[in-house]
C-alpha cells in the first residue's frame, strides 16, 4: 500500500517537473513580448531598461531556475500586461469558471439522467432511439459552434437572454456568485447549457448502460413480484443504484469541464480563467500562460493522485499489484 502511494507521488512530481520544463521552455521560445509591450518609438536605452526589468536579458536556464524557486514560494511572476501577480489574476477569475462549470454539471445531470433511464428502461421504443441518436449528435457537434447558434437564436434573434459577461453578482453565505441573482442566472444559463452539451451526451449513455444492467438484476424482479408500482421501481430501485457510479464518474470528470470552459468562455465572453488564458496567449503574456498551465496541470495531477489512492482502498486488486511492484 505505502510503496504504491509513494511511487504514484513520485510520478506526479516527475510529471509536474517535465510539464514545467515543457511549458516554460516552450513559452520562452515563442514570439517577442518586448516588441508588444514597448512603445515602438522608444529608444534603445528604454528597450534595454524594460528587458532588464522583466529579467529577459538573463540566460533561459537562469530564468527557469528563478521561476522554480519563486514558484515554490507561491510567486509565478507578474503579468506583462496587467502588472499584477499572475497567480492573483488567475485566482480572481477562478470563481467565475467554477460557477460556470458547477452550474453546467447541474444542468447536465438533471437533463441526462431521466433521458438515460428512459432509454435504458425501454430500449426498443422510438423515443429511446431518438434519445440515443441525439446523444451521438451531441458528441459530434462542435461546442463552440453550438454556442454561436445559441447566441444567434436566444440573444440576437429573440433577445431573451444576454450573451456576454457575468451579470450582477450576489452574495450568499459569504460567497460571491452570479448564481445568486436573477440577472446573473440569466447570464450564466446559455454558457452553462453550452458547456453541458457534451456532458449530457456522455451521461445519457452511461445512465442507459447502467439501467440496462440493473434491470436484469434479481432485486428488480423481486420488487416486481412484490407488486411494487413501476414508478417506484424506477424512482427508487433503479435511480438509487445507478446514481453511485454516475456521480463518481461525473465527479472525476469535473476537471474536463474546467478545461473545456476555455472554449465556452471565449464564445460568451465569460470573465473566467479560460478566457484569461486565451487572451494571454494572444498578448504573449508569458507569466500568465505559464502560471495558468502550471496551475491546471497541478490540479489534474493531484486529482488523479487522489483518485488512484481512493481506488486502492476500494479495489483490493490494485493494492496487491502495487505491493508486488
Amino acid at each position: 500500500m505505502t510503496p504504491f502511494i509513494f511511487t504514484r507521488l513520485a510520478q506526479s512530481v516527475l510529471v509536474l517537473f517535465i510539464m514545467s520544463l515543457l511549458v516554460f521552455g516552450g513559452v520562452n521560445l515563442v514570439g517577442d513580448p518586448v516588441e508588444m509591450l514597448i512603445n515602438p518609438e522608444a529608444d534603445q536605452a528604454e528597450v534595454e531598461r524594460v528587458i532588464r526589468e522583466l529579467g529577459l536579458d538573463r540566460p533561459v536556464t537562469e530564468q527557469y531556475w528563478y521561476f522554480l524557486v519563486n514558484a515554490f514560494k507561491g510567486d509565478l511572476g507578474d503579468s506583462f500586461i496587467f502588472g499584477e501577480p499572475a497567480l492573483k489574476l488567475i485566482i480572481q477569475r477562478m470563481p467565475a469558471t467554477l460557477e460556470l462549470a458547477l452550474f453546467s454539471l447541474f444542468i447536465s445531470l438533471i437533463i441526462a439522467i431521466p433521458l438515460g433511464i428512459y432509454a435504458g428502461y425501454k430500449p426498443e421504443s422510438k423515443t429511446s432511439k431518438i434519445i440515443m441518436g441525439g446523444s451521438i449528435l451531441g458528441f459530434s457537434m462542435p461546442t463552440f459552434w453550438v454556442g454561436i447558434i445559441f447566441i444567434m437564436i436566444f440573444a440576437v434573434h429573440f433577445g431573451w437572454l444576454p450573451s456576454t459577461g457575468r451579470g450582477e453578482i450576489g452574495t450568499f453565505l459569504g460567497i460571491n456568485s452570479s448564481l445568486f441573482t436573477l440577472n446573473g442566472l440569466s447570464h450564466v444559463f446559455l454558457p452553462a447549457l453550452n458547456l453541458a452539451l457534451f456532458k449530457i451526451s456522455s451521461v445519457i449513455r452511461l445512465t442507459r448502460a447502467g439501467t440496462r444492467e440493473i434491470i436484469l438484476q434479481d432485486y428488480i424482479t423481486f420488487a416486481r413480484s412484490k407488486g411494487l408500482s413501476e414508478k417506484r421501481i424506477v424512482l427508487v430501485h433503479i435511480l438509487k443504484n445507478i446514481l453511485i457510479p454516475i456521480v463518481t464518474v461525473v465527479g472525476l470528470e469535473f476537471g474536463s469541464l474546467i478545461a473545456f470552459s476555455t472554449v465556452t468562455e471565449t464564445v460568451f465572453a465569460w470573465p473566467g480563467m479560460g478566457k484569461l488564458i486565451i487572451d494571454s496567449i494572444y498578448n504573449l503574456d508569458r507569466p500568465v500562460i505559464v502560471a495558468y498551465l502550471m496551475i491546471i496541470v497541478t490540479f489534474f495531477v493531484f486529482l488523479n493522485l487522489i483518485v488512484d489512492i481512493l481506488y486502492t482502498f476500494l479495489d483490493p486488486r490494485v493494492r496487491i499489484k502495487g505491493d508486488s511492484q
Binding site: 516552450g26 459530434s140 462542435p142 459552434w145 454561436i148 440576437v156 486565451i278 498551465l293
Partner: protein, 292 residues
C-alpha cells in the same frame, strides 16, 4: 471464390444491415470527394484575389452580384463565395485530421504492440505514460502544446497526434496481448522469425479491427478539436482556412444578423464529424463480440 473477396462480401453484408451507417458512409464518401477535388468542384477559387471582389461582401444566400454570379450560400466578409470556401475548408480540416490520425495510429500501435510483446519494465513505463496522458482532457493537452509553442500547421498536427496516440497504444496493446497467446505466434517463434517480423507482420494485421474502430472515432474527434483550436485562434494560421477558422471569421458578423457566414461551415463540420462517428459506432458494434 477468392477467400479475400468472400471476406469482404461477408463484411459488407454485416455492415449494410444498419441503414444509418450505410447512409453515413455514402455521405462521408461524398465529403471526401469534395475535399479531395475542391479546386475542380468549387464554383470559384475563394483565395484567388482576381475573382474575389470586396463589393460582394456579406451577400445573403441565394443572391446574385451585378455580373450575374450566383451565391447559393452567400458570401463572407471579404466577398468570397461560401460554397467554395467551405469546400476548400473541408480539404484543410480533413487533411489535418486524417494526417494526424495516420501518424497517431503508427506511433500508437508501435508502442502498444511492442509493449505487449516485450512486457516487463518497458511495458509498465509505456503504459504508465499512456495512463497519465489519458488522465488529461484532450483540449488541455492541445492547449499546453499550442500555448507553449505557438500556432502553426505542424504544431497543430503534432498536438493532434499527441492527443490521439495514447488511445491507439492502449487498444493495440490489449488486442496484441490476446493475439500473443495464439498458436500462430508460437509457430512464428519456432521458425525463429525476428521479433520485428512477428510484431508487425503477424500480430499487427490481427489487431487492425479494433484499431480501425478507434481510428474512425478518433479522427472525428481530431477534426472537431482542430476546428475548436482554430476557432480560438490557436490552431491553424489564416493561410490554411479550415472550417473552424471560417466559423471564427463569421462570428464577428453574427451580431449584425449575418448568420450564414458562421452557420454553413458549422453545418459542414457537423455533417462530417457525425457521419464518421455513426460509421465508427456501427463498426464498434460489429466488432464487439459481446453483442453477438
Amino acid at each position: 471464390m477468392n477467400p479475400k473477396i468472400k471476406k469482404i462480401k461477408e463484411f459488407w453484408k454485416d455492415f449494410s444491415s444498419n441503414k444509418v451507417a450505410v447512409v453515413s458512409l455514402i455521405v462521408f464518401m461524398l465529403i471526401l470527394f469534395v475535399a479531395v477535388f475542391a479546386p475542380l468542384v468549387s464554383p470559384t477559387d475563394p483565395y484567388d484575389l482576381n475573382t474575389v471582389s470586396i463589393m460582394n461582401s456579406r451577400l445573403a444566400p441565394f443572391s446574385e452580384d451585378f455580373s450575374g454570379n450566383y451565391f447559393l450560400l452567400g458570401t463572407d466578409g471579404a466577398g468570397r463565395d461560401m460554397v467554395s470556401a467551405i469546400f476548400y475548408g473541408l480539404r484543410v480540416s480533413l487533411g489535418v485530421g486524417v494526417l494526424s490520425g495516420i501518424f497517431a495510429l503508427i506511433i500508437g500501435s508501435f508502442f502498444g504492440i511492442s509493449a505487449a510483446f516485450f512486457g516487463g519494465k518497458y511495458e509498465s513505463v509505456v503504459m504508465r505514460i499512456v495512463d497519465i496522458q489519458l488522465s488529461f482532457p484532450s483540449i488541455l493537452v492541445a492547449l499546453i502544446i499550442l500555448a507553449a509553442f505557438g500556432k502553426g500547421v505542424e504544431k497543430t498536427i503534432i498536438a493532434l497526434i499527441l492527443v490521439q496516440w495514447a488511445y491507439y497504444a492502449r487498444t493495440a496493446r490489449s488486442s496484441a496481448l490476446v493475439e500473443l497467446n495464439k498458436e500462430y505466434v508460437d509457430a512464428a517463434r519456432c521458425l525463429a522469425f525476428s521479433n520485428t517480423r512477428i510484431m508487425f507482420k503477424h500480430i499487427l494485421p490481427n489487431c487492425m479491427a479494433p484499431l480501425i474502430v478507434v481510428g474512425t472515432l478518433q479522427t472525428a474527434h481530431a477534426i472537431s478539436l482542430e476546428a475548436t483550436l482554430s476557432f480560438l485562434g490557436l490552431g491553424l494560421p489564416i493561410t490554411e482556412p479550415s472550417l473552424g477558422l471560417l466559423i471564427g471569421n463569421g462570428f464577428e458578423y453574427m451580431y449584425s444578423g449575418d448568420y450564414w457566414i458562421s452557420i454553413f461551415p458549422g453545418v459542414a463540420l457537423l455533417i462530417t464529424v457525425a457521419s464518421i462517428n455513426l460509421v465508427g459506432d456501427h463498426l464498434r458494434d460489429m466488432f464487439n463480440p459481446r453483442l453477438h
